[in-house]
């Protein structure tokens, strides 16, 4: 008995031990009464670094940034009640974008659950719809095993957020620790290999297709760098054009010759028209989101569709496909390439040549063109300069949500996966600043830039304190239009130019704000000063708040209004008169 109990320890120590055994090196968190025993254990060790955030939402987005930029699981620790409820937005964000994170929350002691105790909230109840899985651990003996399960679930199959709720008495009590090797094997083992018949059917289709297109998404990134590598090989070898969703940018390099640019509501003309006009669509790890499809009825009407996805519920959810392939993107691409090569690397050369000619005509439209200015900084210009001056650097980009986010996706080029962190599915304003800190903590030497709108940025600006404390030299590149720009754009196009509540009034002086936090503030409003200002930002060894005053009424084009098909895209101001009908106005 004495021997068997050699691994006995308190629940609090188990938490730290389990994190170490899972290879965790950093935890983003905020203490409170219900997690004090765990904080004690954190105090007593040096292997795991704790990043003290300023708001629990910040902790979750940091864990997301960390996870997305490393391919590892991000970890956050919050207290009961308000600590846990503050985590809800971040959990939902991670669920919609399939980001693997483990959140540990404190809970009132088991004997007080249900009594409306101080800082009691039904955390597993509240977070059930916004986690992939969650657990309330009532027995210390099961705690370590549950944490191991949590990591397994977070990263297996379609990744996502999980939460483990740990009552305070469970943290104090003592039990035998369960090492990883002895954790229960989970029945949850999503299948990775795709059905060979289905893969062969896809290969047959791509051998003859006249107008094929690869439509790729965040699933390629989640599948790991090997998947991106295979995708590149496949694209180069077949010579097919490729487009990607917002979430998939970087899987195929922006400088690659087959790259059409991002597709979707603010995607490129050539990308959307290729989707509309193709005869074979190969969806690799994307999910036919409504930002992508536009009007369902008219979505890519002449194509046969293949869909590779690890999540069966994504297949045939929105768009019915001809060949569903359930499996991990990397595994499926590997098999597909092998089969395609074995069958003689056939493609329809003649058809492809015509298709590329057509695409060249669409490209010639030059859909990202905008009217330049020497008096005021155009947001597109600011991003072009940022791109030019940071190209080739070890660079990571995060964004907030709004027009600036779409312009960043359009004007910045991503050459590798895991370099682009943005809130796609939930569209969470306030994501970018904490995410940039999470990225920087994981990559201390890299250049990490948050492309922000002034309104979004204010939503979690308290995290500048975190950046200062932990010497995370994140660059906050704020495209300040003094507007809730994206809202303003919709009001202009859909609501008769009634600009209800879409001004950013009473903005802080961002330079003074930077000084108040103890970091550097830079303000620029003249296009002639922009380059020097950007260089100053890059060279500064520490966090920077960069207040870039830009044109206030610029609209983001191209735009496919909600409820419109891909081929009814607005390319510029001239196209916008009265285009969106009431039916489209009810959509978001």
């Amino acid at each position: 008995m004495a021997k068997a109990m050699s691994g006995a320890m308190t629940g609090a120590r188990m938490v730290v031990q389990a994190l170490k055994d899972q290879g965790v090196d950093v935890v983003f968190g905020y203490p409170g009464g219900a997690v004090l025993p765990i904080y004690d254990e954190i105090f007593l060790q040096n292997d795991i670094r704790h990043i003290l955030v300023r708001h629990e939402q910040g902790a979750i987005h940091m864990a997301e940034g960390y996870a997305r930029s490393t391919g590892k699981v991000g970890v956050a620790l919050v207290t009961s009640g308000p600590g846990a409820t503050n985590a809800v937005t971040g959990l939902t964000d991670a669920l919609l974008d399939s980001i693997p994170i483990v959140v540990l929350s404190g809970q009132v002691p088991t004997f007080m659950i249900g009594t409306d105790g101080f800082q009691e909230a039904d955390t597993v109840g509240i977070t059930r719809p916004c986690t992939k899985m969650n657990w309330l651990v009532k027995d210390t003996a099961k705690l370590a095993d549950t944490i191991h399960q949590a990591f397994h679930v977070a990263k297996s199959g379609r990744p996502g957020p999980v939460l483990v709720d740990i009552p305070k008495d469970v943290q104090f009590a003592t039990a035998e620790y369960t090492p990883v090797q002895r954790a229960r094997t989970s029945h949850y083992q999503p299948r990775l290999k795709g059905d060979i018949d289905a893969i062969t059917a896809m290969v047959e289709m791509l051998e003859t297709a006249e107008r094929p297109v690869f439509y790729t998404g965040g699933g390629v990134i989640n599948s790991g760098s090997g998947a991106s590598q295979l995708l590149r090989e496949f694209v180069e070898a077949t010579g097919f054009p490729i487009t990607s969703t917002l979430m998939g940018l970087g899987a195929y390099p922006a400088s690659g010759k087959n790259w059409l640019g991002m597709l979707g509501m603010h995607g490129l003309y050539e990308a959307n028209l290729a989707m509309h006009g193709c005869d074979l669509m190969i969806n690799v790890g994307a999910r036919f989101d409504d930002r992508i499809t536009g009007r369902i009825k008219d979505f890519s009407p002449h194509s046969r569709k293949v869909h590779i996805d690890i999540d069966a519920s994504s297949i045939n959810k929105v768009i019915r496909v001809d060949v569903p392939i359930l499996g991990d993107v990397g595994h499926v691409l590997e098999d597909a390439l092998r089969i395609w090569k074995a069958r003689g690397r056939k493609v329809n050369k003649e058809g492809l040549a015509k298709w590329w000619k057509q695409i060249a005509e669409w490209r010639a439209v030059n859909c990202l063109d905008y009217k330049g200015s020497t008096k005021v900084i155009k947001p597109q210009y600011a991003l072009q300069r940022l791109e030019a001056l940071t190209k080739g650097m070890d660079r990571y980009i995060t964004t907030e949500v709004g027009q600036h986010q779409m312009w960043a996706a359009q004007f910045l080029g991503f050459e590798a996966p895991n370099r682009w962190m943005t809130s796609g599915g939930l569209g969470t304003m306030g994501y970018g600043l904490p995410a940039s800190i999470g990225v920087q903590i994981a990559h201390p030497e890299a250049l990490v830039i948050n492309v922000a709108g002034e309104a979004s940025w204010l939503m979690n600006m308290q995290e500048m304190g975190t950046a200062m404390q932990f010497r995370a030299p994140v660059k906050q590149f704020i495209l300040n239009n003094e507007r809730l720009g994206m809202v303003r754009q919709w009001q202009e196009l859909l609501h008769g130019e009634r600009y209800s509540q879409s001004w950013s009034e009473s903005l802080p002086d961002f330079v003074k704000l930077a000084e108040a936090f103890g970091c550097k503030g830079i303000k620029v409003s003249d296009p002639a000063d922009l380059d020097d200002a950007i260089l100053e930002m890059i060279r500064y060894d520490g966090p920077v708040i960069f207040d870039c005053l830009v044109e206030k009424h610029e609209n983001c084009f191209p735009m496919i209004p909600s409820g419109k098909p891909h081929n009814e895209m607005l390319l510029g101001e001239a196209d916008t008169q009265g285009v969106i009908k009431a039916a489209g106005a009810v959509l978001v």
Partner: protein
């Protein structure tokens, strides 16, 4: 063709025939869901239905495998074929769900529900209620001079029709268990 058993689309215009809710028939399906018998699992399954706007016509749940700690949830739901497929896929990807069977799609199945009926009445009506109960093979499990409680097991349709017959004869209350179902054969 694939593990999903999703038939390959027969036309090259696959996106045309989608989600026209008026054009597609609503079908009723019985799903058997094997889940871990843990707190919160039922809430997760039900939350899926409410959160995504699916119907629940009936639901039963109980532990069926004590050793493996598994419960069986039987849900009768309705929707277009595409929605039914989607429900099954959504259930399948839930972590505590071990297995899902669409008993309606997989072949013939046996469906049974247990119901209790309280019928109050005197004279002719009371005699008629008893006579009908015999025809329906309902048992009397409680009786007073003015009332019976009948117990009946059968398909939901049979229970519905018995209830219809009892209504004019003094039906006061019904309690139903919801459907339990198994596929026929092995």
């Amino acid at each position: 063709m694939s593990a999903l058993n999703i038939k390959r689309g027969s036309t090259s215009h696959s996106a045309y025939d989608l989600r026209d809710p008026n054009a597609e028939v609503i079908e009723s399906h019985t799903l058997a869901i094997l889940v871990e018998n843990e707190p919160g699992v039922l809430a997760r399954v039900i939350g899926l239905f409410s959160g995504r706007g699916y119907n629940i016509e009936s639901l039963t749940v109980a532990e069926t495998d004590h050793a493996r700690h598994l419960s069986r949830i039987t849900i009768v739901t309705s929707g277009t074929p595409q929605v039914i497929d989607q429900i099954e896929a959504q259930l399948r990807r839930m972590v505590p769900v071990h297995d899902v069977h669409d008993l309606t799609a997989e072949g013939p199945s046996v469906q049974r529900e247990l119901a209790l009926f309280k019928v109050a009445g005197k004279g002719e009506a009371r005699i008629e209620a008893l006579r009908l109960a015999e025809i329906f093979r309902a048992h009397v499990v409680d009786s007073t001079l003015e009332s019976f409680v009948f117990e009946m097991t059968g398909t939901p349709e049979k229970i519905d029709s018995f209830a219809d017959l009892m209504r004019p004869l003094g039906l006061k209350e019904i309690a139903r268990t919801g459907v339990a179902a198994l596929s026929r054969g092995v």
